[in-house]
Amino acid sequence: MMLENNELLKIEALSIQFGGLKAVDQLSFTIHEKEIFGLIGPNGAGKTTVFNCITQFYKPNHGNIYFRNIKDEVINLVDLKVHQVIRQGVVRTFQNVELIRELSILDNVLIGAHIDYKTGVISQALRLPKAVKEEAIYKAKAEEILKKLGIYERKDMLVFGQPYGILKKVELARTFMSDPKLVILDEPAAGLNDVETLQLAKTIRQIRDDFNCSVLLVEHDMRLVMDVCDTICAINFGKFLAQGTAKDIQKNPLVQEAYLGKEEHDE
């Protein structure tokens, strides 16, 4: 068994190299069930690269990513293709919201249920009873999620022209359609104002409880990270710096150095 009882995701000696640049170097950390885990680091530290390795957008050169999937089996995500990752219970959002502008909010959320559909093209084209029933089930589920996130009234509006805060919520709603065990948020507070950021912190905690999942987030907004995360891992130049609670991280000299630079001593 690669994972202890309450461990959900274990990254082991992860390395990826772009040309001569080691973007992630021998990085290891573990996320537990129902934990809100923050990954921080200065610009270019390799946070998003770690994300892309977990979701298989990049194939790491070395290392393993063990995950306890929906069926409670432990698998190595590295063996999968990008589109298979969501089936295991790992789903992500994007730094620059990736929604379909020409579709309604409800339709955008329904894309999150894509893998759950059992009926094929032909039964959908003919609107066979089972296809109609299936569509109704997921529509109801999507509406339920939109209600929880407080944007139900907008469900039939087009995504095009919606404020940024709403778009972020739509993307979040989309991730929950697949009943994930791990939700990966790529800079959820980017582009939000102070009020929206405060709201987001609340939302993140609420979704952890409502949907019973773990959250991994990369974020630049330190207030949000310190406020919401149970455990924080700091990295720099792709290497592990420190891990601990918000207080531990704030006090850690290595982290302070990475963010603020080394103190110059006059000789």
């Binding site: 589109h83 020409e102 894309i111």
Partner: protein, 335 residues
Amino acid sequence: MKKIKIAFKPWMGFVLFGIALALIPLLAEYTTFVKSSTIITIGGTVIFAIAALGLNILLGYSGLISLGTAGFMGLAAYLSAYMTVDLGLPFEVSLIVAVLVPTLIGVLVGLISLKIEGMYLAIATLAVSEILRKTFEEFEFITNGFSGKSARFPQLLGFIQLDRASTYYLIVVVLVIAMLLTYNMMNGQVGRAFNAMRGSESAASAMGVYSLKYRLIAFALATILASLAGVMYVHFIRFAYPSTWNLKLSLDFLAMIVIGGLRSIYGTVLGAFIVFAIPDLFLKQIPFFNQLSYVLNGVLIIEVIMFYPSGLINIGFDIKRLWLKLRKGIHDAGK
């Protein structure tokens, strides 16, 4: 008295639309207003609308471009003509084979589309279409080369011989079914997957949409519709020349969906009427304008892209909005 309220379902709209189209030949018979040659033009337009619907699935919904529609349509036309006339096979059998063969080639092109995008995909599909067209010229034992291949009106189930008017009805039925099935697919899981793929490939795969599978489905659907149109064409016009299936026809399909409306099913048919029927029915009557239909299409595409990026089908909504505004204005002035 109890009021019976029937919920208006999308399929009723398609059926009503089909009935309206089907009435045109009747009008031709009983009035002098519509000439009988008009049926050929309108029937041709309906056939082209079927193929354009396929291109709309490909380009409008999935964001994959193809300039090969004409080639696939031609291949299906020749195959069906050869099988019914030379081999004496029943119409139904040749229909199935004439749709299957181009669809297999279309799926192969779908495989290529995984490696090349945008402009290069357009060039590759154009190349496939040109190869097909050259083949039509050279394989004389099937296509009869430059002299053209003739075919007959379809004979259904081996004993129902259709004439021009009833073939026209058959074409309208095929269009209505194609519109209905396309509507159902594009408003369900498959359509959303196509949209997701067009919007962002990475977001789509993060949501579990397997690009290879959906690209193949998109190309298969587009080729099935193009081939169906090809079969209908050869049995309605009863003649096929290699020069019909050239780049201009593929570009006309592109013009139809851009002018009518990308991702709009009625828009596709409207586009087909604007690109094919209007120049044929009206412009040809005016001496100076009869060679200007190319120019008209070009101007229309530019106008539509600039002022109506979502297609002329949306002009209705805008007129309605303007009308409501006007009425409100009159109402307010009356106070």
